[in-house]
Amino acid sequence: MADPDRPDAPKAPDASTSPDAPASSEAPASSGAPASPAQTPPHDPSTIGPERPVAAPVVAERGAPPPPKGVLGFLVRHQAIVVPIVSVVLAFAIGAILIRAQGYNPTYAYRRLFEYAFLTEGGLLSTFQKTTPLILVGLAVAIPLKVGLFNIGGQGQLMAGGIGAAWVAYALRDLPAPLLVLAAVVVAVLFGAMWASIAALLKTTRGVHEVISTIMLNSIAVGIIDWLINGGPLADPAQPFPSSHAVPEGARLLPLGVIPWGLPVALVLAVLVAWMLRRTTLGFELQTVGRNKFAAGYAGISTTKATLLAMLMSGGLAGLAGAFELLQIAPYRYQGGIAGSLGFDGITIALLARGNPLGTIPAAVLVAAMRAGAPTLQFDLGIRPEIVDLLLAITLLMVSLPVIAKWIFRRHAVKQTQLAGSWGA
């Protein structure tokens, strides 16, 4: 409800105390006026309305400038969308230079890449198959961000889920297929959650930083699984490479046309997570902890509970991604490279989505398409497919730049800076 009676109440949130303020301005101290006069359209006096002397300017004393107008203001207000798009465009521009330097035509290369990824049946299926786990691991990073946690362990949690599914699929291979799939999925979720819960418990009981513990747990997962499928109890000795036993044929999730089974599940889960965060009391609790854990304590919201729940949910989602990798993608076995860099792509996706659960969907589709189209570059054009890794790395760097910029401005004691917004917001 806009209140026309209070023209003197500025619309500017004071960024210094509200990290999640939706709109704010560039650093006024470092760059002078946030909006240069050239960008500032003259005020329309008719919108100002009568003066009400009683109400003092509300935030003026704290020095919060209103959102800048003009182009800059637009960019700042819509930074949640602007930053990712600009990041991707810049990454592609830099990638174009690199492709050009190798003597290829970047426009043609990009066109081929996306034509294959979206306009061919095989390419589209591949895109959607890759989209499935990417949405899930993107959510697995996005949820903890809302609680103020940075889950780097999506990779390990996904692997734990995948190996759990492989174990169940072999151990219970005589079950009817639907039951077997269900059991494999449930166990994968539990395994992923369990793997994440180690980091969560270390955090809540011993104060171990989750970034450190999840990175280490990734390596531990790699080691354990290596042993399990390389001569260990889950290994299939008939295979030339370290590998688990194959999922029984009936339990393989073959795609329906170009739609793999996991895609609708991932989409529904993204919507559910968004709804949970936005509309439920649990979402309010999680985000209150993320925004001000002291106030959460005052309000009777348990930081421990929020940390555990967020990590369990994200571990479960990553574990589910592992199950789909196993059940819906040939050769339907757990092999060394099954997880690829999915867990880390999840970080790129969550940051591209700026922590917004629904934003993980387009971000995941983009990354999946790039990954799906990468082989085309090599087969058709001879460009090394690593260019896609490069593009994703540059994108991640660009998405992170505002965070770095904010940090730099903070160092200049300009707390009003809200150039970047926060990851989790």
Binding site: A2, H43, P66, R279, G297
Partner: protein, 546 residues
């Protein structure tokens, strides 16, 4: 009646410096003007600054001479901070000039301001908590010897500066272990270490205990006597009269009053200038009609963050329909007591019960959520830290501890309609000045943030309302409003426990006053026959006074 036990730094430093009473001002070679015709240090003419349609500063002109203490007095939102930020180069004026020692060129940034002899102590300290005082002092202009940090030199510098300015500080103490008042001293020393002619203090007393405030005012006078000019922002009238030579009163961005001779001025003169009307500093309230006991605390023990007993055998009863003021020097267990009663901190012994007879609830072990549900409202001491979530909207903050109750949630799904209409109502009732209820609470001024907290806690109609420092850092207009609300809560039958470092606040609101010292109640007196001096003595731990 300084409580020396609270000063961790060696008293020798202070003692050593006393022999050099009235030393010639010699701040690392800063120009010392001979007495006589006073040099104009800072002159501001026609300064304006607006943010969009808001005029934060309108045509402000003022002058500061060398060795003068000038107070900038005004309500929250009057434009005081904006003004000093421009002097310190954190913001650029839209029009008008700021001339420092006759040099009216633009102040580019804080570095430029420091180079020209301006120092500023921010309201929120810019210290690194895990570093020592000496390390903090050298931060930003580190000196090295042989490629290593010259920490000995920094220690020496701290000792010299603290002796010279009589600001006792232990150079090796870690900042996070120091009381707030001492941290502020470190900030002041840090500013002084850089050849300061004009020291700006942004609400320096907002975080201080009464004793620390008195000490600070003394320090300010010393500095001024030595030739440093001081501009200090405040909204505490008593401090203006106690320390300032001159005073400018700001309201809605403009200078509305200038008092060059404060000797004939009273606090109510200043107050009415500030808010543009006569403020009732004395709260009008009817005689209390206490009912049955609501809060009963027996032998409560609570430990502080370091595990040391902070509340030690605390006994108190608060009855329905009365305001009990808990007076005490800060750091005598009030914070731990309130946090424990609110369920935010476990108790180590004793009992806490709410209600009487068959209606009794044992709160000794309950957490914040259950305590709140049992009917305890709590206005926390540190509203920025505990009271609000800056990133949530005003509406969400108004249900911060009731978000999961009907009608604000049905099951586990929140009802935004109910949250919003609740907020719209409270915004009107509690005069929360904001464009709407959807803006982030972090964008509000201190007074309005506090109104959000008070509105939330009072709208739940608590049986017990605990208000800790309810008007700290709040403008005069809001103080009056919040006080009135507290009395209304009492008249509606709530038991009110008021904890405040402002003795005036305790005296004007309380029906009964309990004095806390060393974590226990040392005396209880009726509100109407409370004597300021006697309570002051009791607060200082002088139990013979009673």
């Amino acid at each position: 009646m300084t409580d020396t036990s609270r000063n961790p730094e060696p008293t020798t430093a202070a003692a050593a410096s006393t022999e050099a009473s009235g030393p010639a001002y010699d701040n690392d070679g800063a120009t010392t003007t001979a007495s006589g015709e006073r040099e104009t240090l800072l002159e501001i003419t026609g300064l304006s600054k607006s943010f969009g349609t808001v005029h934060a500063n309108k045509d402000i002109s003022l002058r500061v001479d060398r060795g003068e203490i000038v107070a900038l007095l005004g309500e929250n939102g009057a434009g005081k901070s904006t003004l000093v930020k421009q002097i310190f180069g954190l913001m650029t004026p839209d029009s008008g000039t700021i001339s420092i020692k006759g040099d009216a060129s633009r102040i580019k940034d804080p570095k430029d301001a420091i180079r020209r002899g301006i120092g500023m102590v921010h309201q929120h300290f810019q210290l690194v908590p895990v570093m020592t005082v000496a390390e903090n002092m050298m931060l930003g202009h580190e000196t090295t010897s042989g490629g290593l940090l010259d920490l000995d030199g920094a220690r020496q510098m701290v000792r010299e500066l603290s002796a010279k300015h009589k600001l006792a500080v232990d150079p090796d103490a870690e900042v996070e272990d120091l009381p707030v008042g001492t941290q502020q001293r470190v900030e002041i020393l840090k500013a002084l270490s850089r050849r300061v002619d004009l020291l700006i203090l942004d609400e320096p007393t907002a975080v201080l205990t009464p004793q620390e405030t008195d000490e600070l005012l003394g320090v300010m006078k010393e500095l001024a006597a030595g030739g440093t000019s001081i501009v200090f922002i405040t909204h505490k009238l008593r401090e203006v009269l106690a320390a300032a030579d001159r005073c400018y009163v700001l309201r809605q961005g403009a200078v509305v009053g200038q008092v060059d001779d404060l000797s004939g001025t009273t606090t109510s003169d200043l107050a009415s200038m500030m808010v543009g009307r006569d403020v009732v500093l004395r709260v009008d309230k009817a005689e209390a009609t206490p009912g049955e006991t609501v809060l009963s605390v027996k032998g409560l023990q609570v430990r502080d963050d370091r595990g040391l007993p902070a509340v030690d055998g605390f006994d108190l009863e608060v009855r329905a329909g009365e305001i009990v003021g808990l007076a005490g020097v800060e750091g005598n267990g009030q914070r731990e007591l309130v946090e424990s009663l609110a369920g935010m901190r476990p108790s180590a012994g004793g009992t806490v019960t709410l209600g009487s007879g068959s209606d009794t609830v044992d709160l000794t072990r309950s957490n914040a959520h259950d305590t709140n549900n049992a009917g305890v409202g709590h206005v926390p001491e540190d509203r920025e830290k505990h009271g609000i979530v800056g990133g949530w909207s005003i509406a969400d903050n108004l249900v911060l501890n009731r978000y999961d109750e009907a009608p604000f949630a049905r099951g586990f799904v929140r009802d935004f309609g109910a949250v919003r209409s609740h907020a719209v109502e409270l915004r009107e009732e509690f005069d929360i000045r904001s464009p709407n209820v959807d803006v982030p609470a972090g964008s509000l001024s201190g007074g309005n943030k506090q109104k959000v907290v008070v509105a939330r806690e009072m709208s739940a109609r608590p049986r017990l309302l605990m208000a800790a420092q309810p008007t700290r850092g709040v403008d005069v207009g809001s103080i009056e409003f919040i006080h009135r609300r507290i009395v209304e809560a009492r008249d509606a039958g709530a038991a009110v426990l008021l904890v405040s470092a402002e003795l005036d606040e305790i005296l004007s609101l309380s029906d009964r006053i309990a004095v806390i010292h060393g974590g226990r109640v040392v005396a209880e007196v009726a509100g109407q026959d409370a004597d300021r001096t006697e309570i002051g003595r009791l607060m200082a731990g002088d139990s013979d006074a009673h």
